[in-house]
Amino acid sequence: MSFFAFLAARRAELLALAAQHLVLVAASTAAAVAIGLPLGIAMTRLRRLARPLLAVAGLVQTIPSLALFGFLIPLPLLGGIGTRTALTALILYALLPILQNTYAGIAQVDRVVVEAATALGMTDGQRLRLVELPLALPVILAGVRIAAVVSVGTATIAAAIGAGGLGTYVFRGIATVDTRLILAGAIPAALMALAVDALLGAVERSRRPFRAAALLAASLVATLGLALFAARPARERAVVVGSKNFTEQVLLGEMVARLLESRGFAVERKLNLGGTNLCHQGLLSGELDVYVEYTGTALADILARPVPPDPARVLPEVRERYAALGLDVLDPLGFDNTYALVVRGDDAQRLPLRRISDLAPHAATLRVGLFGEFLERPDGMKGLLRTYGLRLGSPPSEMDLGLLYTALLDRQVDVVVGSATDGLIAARQLVVLEDDRHYFPPYDAVPITSRQAEERHPGLRAALATLAGRVDAATMRRLNYAVDGEHHDPPAVAADFLRAAGLTN
């Protein structure tokens, strides 16, 4: 299928995501102007304010966007999962250029002109309105243009916290190793940035920039109003289904969502959320009603408890401790997605490698790729190296989950820390090394929901319970491969599975 046919097939979704993206950019830029313009003007009146304010705005600018999202999520009012947090972050980023240019634009107005205006008997407000703002306008508009263009880029990352937009395709594409999907998000985003730049540039150069800016602002407000009106959520709250941002999680999220839909629940999907903690926090705060977690992750990562030597103790302990948090751990789906050290088939034969302990003599020369979370987790890299006495020659390369196998197949790295159900393992003759010292706890996939979710949506637990024991490891690997290897859409794969398993009709 050509790229254009691929795009055409997704026309409706693509347009919706682009609209969402544009709304994020427009709303955040408009809000940043509403905050930054008066603040910038205030700085020219109270010059003592200027330095500290610009310093703070500059500092915010240096925070990487994902980190800023991370800071914001736990905050009440501003934070949470979704649009609100994204808007807050985008506004914070947009503030600096607007503040800076408003301040500089007014400060650069010829002193003689300002002096003359004062001597003619203008009040401060008249001087601002009749002299300073008109003369500073081109500089201020340049600031707005920079802010808006940067917002288009930053807004793609907002998909990581469930705010939608074109970044949804980018993240989904990275997670499923699908270049076309990445491009389907990235190219429209780039075009949007160029269009925004050109449009605001035209306003800047227009002979009547005031009128043009006012016109643009008015049409923006109208568009936003329409979009907000159109996007008004239904009064009745839907069940919110979450997932983390890798193929298996997206598939599981889709399965849960479709299963619930077939049982008559209204469902809202917040899939592809950027990390374990995000999902957990979402569940605790009530922004998510259900997602699928892994028992080992819940115990070691979320609860920060030591893993008991008896693997059979893990699920009961998680269930007990989650209950104290108001969360219900349902019965396992039927597969254990343990961490897996994966090597290329030819290396496995040549060296040879069969178990993790076989790595020890080669550790100095092998390059390891993993995703960042694994470095930090208590059941992660540090303990693994200690348990197996491995001394690496070079520090592991951190990369996104979705890029791990690409790097392994391209021989950029030799060992990746993946998971046992990764679909590419069987399809590309990769070998999973046996955890011969039983370092990893079991990672049974379990749906997690909250008591408040059950109260809001009676019957939710019972509906979810029908999935128990229905997905074994082989099935999960096959489904993952259908997405990662054969580039089928996760919703279609999930739907096929549910139908074949007799869970829906």
Binding site: E115, A116, A117, T118, A119, L120, T123, V131, L135
Partner: protein, 235 residues
């Protein structure tokens, strides 16, 4: 009056008066305090000690905004607002005073005529399209727009070439014959001061060293700075 800026005395015991309808020239080098003295009149500067009586009232009793709208102000190059056309520049104070548009426009055209700029040609031009002399005329027209009794002029002809300058000075004198405004004019140019002033105050170091009619300054400059300054300019 006394006025210091950061420990430096800009005005060090200045006392001056100008009668209605007369032109007082403040003459001195840059830094002599002449501009600071001028700016006390429309409260762009308030003296640390001493008082200024403007239009029959202590200046501090005036609201500065209302005061400035009753005082015409002309500066070097005109100080025109670069984004407004000539007509709007001239009609600026009437606009601040809330005149309706029709009346403002009539007044602007009248004044452009008065300063020798045909309104049909100049009204819609932007300041950057004008020559230095034309800009200066627009600045003067703007200062006169609301018919203020008092006019402050800070080096009004300072940026002009000698020929244009001379012509502007002549025109200013002719205009003043008709309008009889009370004028305080600041300049560092001795011949200009002697030509335009009904009286001239020579300033240096924040003090008035000699104050009298132009003839007295020219023919009987006081020993010291005044004699050197005037002598150097006229020799």
């Amino acid at each position: 009056m006394h006025k210091s800026f950061g420990g430096h005395a800009a005005l060090d015991g200045v006392s001056l008066a100008v009668a209605e309808g007369r032109v007082l020239v403040l003459l001195g080098r840059s830094g002599s305090g002449k501009t600071t003295a001028l700016r006390t009149v429309n409260r762009m500067v308030d003296p640390d000690q001493g008082t200024v009586t403007v239009l029959g009232q202590d200046s501090t009793a005036w609201d500065p905004i209302a005061l400035r709208r009753r005082i015409g102000y002309v500066i070097q190059e005109g100080g025109l607002l670069p984004h407004l056309d000539v007509g709007d520049n001239v009609a600026l104070v009437p606009r601040l005073l809330g005149w309706d548009e029709e009346r403002r426009r009539r007044r602007a055209r009248e004044l452009l005529d008065l300063v020798g700029l045909p309104p049909d040609r100049f009204e819609a031009q932007l300041p950057r399209q004008l020559s230095g002399g034309e800009r200066q005329r627009v600045g003067l027209a703007r200062a006169l727009a609301a018919d203020p009794p008092l006019l402050l002029m800070d080096e009004p002809f300072g940026a002009l070439d000698p020929l244009t300058r001379r012509r502007m000075e002549d025109e200013f004198r002719a205009l003043q014959e008709r309008l009889r405004k009370t004028v305080v004019l600041v300049t560092h140019d001795v011949p200009e001061a002697l030509r335009l002033g009904d009286e001239v105050a020579v300033m240096d170091g924040g003090r008035v060293l000699q104050h009298g009619p132009p003839g007295e300054i020219r023919d009987a400059p006081r020993e010291g700075f005044v004699r050197d300054f005037v002598g150097a300019a006229l020799s």
